[in-house]
Symmetry: C2
Subunit: 315 residues, 2 copies
């Protein structure tokens, strides 16, 4: 068995290959061809930490993956990052462990950003006036990097709570060739942008329906656990197309969970990303539709991106 | 993060230290101080394989452990062992992965054998006439190695289905200083031995109640999943003391599950090994009692033995 570092993984992974792997993964997941055992969770109240183990096997794949993600929120005081992570890739033919990818959470970030790109390719309006980003962290950067592949627009409006985060993001986005506007008022993002990605761990809605212009597409990736919420439920209810990565999971704790609970939508309005990809139908049906992609993250993404990473690392 | 091979782990682990760690683990488990998330299971019907992920954190411990065990039963035809396994040890203070122990299942074997030794120390009759072993595989060898520490008896009667397995076991047991008798009739084992360990993956009872002499202790470790059974339920019902590693788990698929289902015993007759250890009470109350230890294996054993192994490897 071999171990690979984050640096090796970042240097090897081809996002275009990973993108195709993720699309296959979403299709297989929605067709019921992925084994996804229950998530294992630990809490470490004394250390202000938690950890989860997510595993998946896409039937027919040569490998399967066990992912361990840890968040220990006092780590920065010890000079360590809050988040760590690794993926173990095992052979689905012999059970042998093939590789440990100590990606420190990078592959999770990448598979989330690539899912956002897939959703935006299917749902973004034909003319993107500006890209809007809520949040200034790693996922906010990765999403912008990936969106460059699906639109020629090089205007970005980024929302954050702190000047320092906005300044860092501005410098980053400029290196990608963007003209950058920063704001601490989310209404400004909705006024300028019609392709918006929400990447924050917010527990209160940040984006109100009345701010959002017709024809806007919104991808929300921040709500990945109970209690998290970035969107006004009225905005979810207003969307003509609501694409989710997993109906079951999003109904429990995605953005759509809040609108379902209040009865503003029902589950028949949800379509899984894998079902949409398999159908070959256009995601967006009309230029003036508001569309939403609610991405909570599914373990088949980990299985597929780790498989791609291992193939690249051992090529 | 460091990776260690089976050879390194075998060379470093001190069974006496691990034994104390396991006792602490059983006590914590029975006191409700171990986080044990649900087991993750995969099946690979095309490759005749399965895999499970078991994780545990003993509260207060410096580490927690994720174990992956794979069984791929066509592997021998490919020149590979049927079983593989590894344990990942992570920090409970920072979430960082500390080590990957690629023990190939050896630590699982060792913690199972050490649990058998703990049970035998508490429950074996004062005069052991002979040790009886059902099965001739790795666990059958490890149990005998550990029992040498709790009795001076150096007579062993081993049962197996095949001459070749019995011959190999005979040679092994002689190297430990045993006088060895082999048989293909389990009644002979019960006639000679009053400390019996059952280590087979049988799905039909092997040991009948009427063969077993008063004062015999039996440890059964083979039943670790639904459908497995080594003992006649009447023998389980006859036991004056029934010690289990986990009431919940043994009631589902241990030896006691069969006797519970047929109404021959009820759960009030079960006592957990950790509860017995914590009480300081003697396991065996009378020389003529038949006693039983039903050990299905609990994840806290993995957490404790991997913690011990890592401490020894990095000392």
């Amino acid at each position: 068995m071999r171990c690979f570092s984050k640096a090796q993984i970042v240097a090897s992974l081809d996002p275009e290959v990973a993108l195709r792997g993720l699309e296959q993964g979403f299709i297989a997941f929605s067709a019921g061809k992925v084994q996804v055992p229950p998530i294992q969770g630990f809490s470490f109240p004394g250390a202000n930490g938690d950890c989860c183990v997510k595993s998946a096997y896409m039937e027919g794949s040569a490998t399967f993956t066990v992912k361990i993600s840890a968040g220990f929120y006092d780590n920065p005081g010890k000079g360590l990052p809050s988040n760590d992570g690794l993926m173990l890739v095992l052979s689905a033919q012999t059970g042998q462990p093939l590789a440990l990818l100590h990606d420190e959470g990078w592959l999770t970030g990448m598979r989330t950003a690539l899912a956002g790109r897939i959703a935006a390719r299917l749902l973004a309006p034909p003319q993107v006036t500006a890209i809007g980003i809520l949040g200034t962290g790693m996922q906010a950067r990765m999403q912008l990097e990936q969106l460059g592949a699906i639109t020629d627009c090089r205007q970005v409006m980024v929302w954050g709570r702190q000047d320092s985060g906005l300044a860092t993001y501005r410098a980053f986005a400029r290196t990608l060739g963007y003209e950058v506007h920063t704001t601490q008022d989310a209404a400004e993002v909705a006024g300028a942008a019609n392709l918006i990605v929400c990447t924050t761990p917010s527990r209160l809605p940040l984006l109100r329906s009345e701010w959002v212009r017709p024809g806007t597409h919104i991808t929300a990736v921040g709500a990945d656990g109970p209690g998290k919420q970035e969107l006004d439920p009225a905005l979810v209810a207003r969307a003509a197309r609501i694409v989710v990565d997993s109906v079951t999971q999003c109904s429990q704790y995605g953005e759509v969970a809040h609108a379902l609970r209040s009865g503003q939508i029902d589950t028949t309005q949800l379509i899984e990303l894998g079902t949409l990809l398999a159908s070959g139908a256009p995601g967006r049906e009309h230029p003036d539709q508001v569309t939403l992609a609610d991405l909570t993250g599914v373990a088949v993404q980990d299985a597929q991106i780790s498989s791609c990473a291992l193939a690249a690392l051992t090529a």
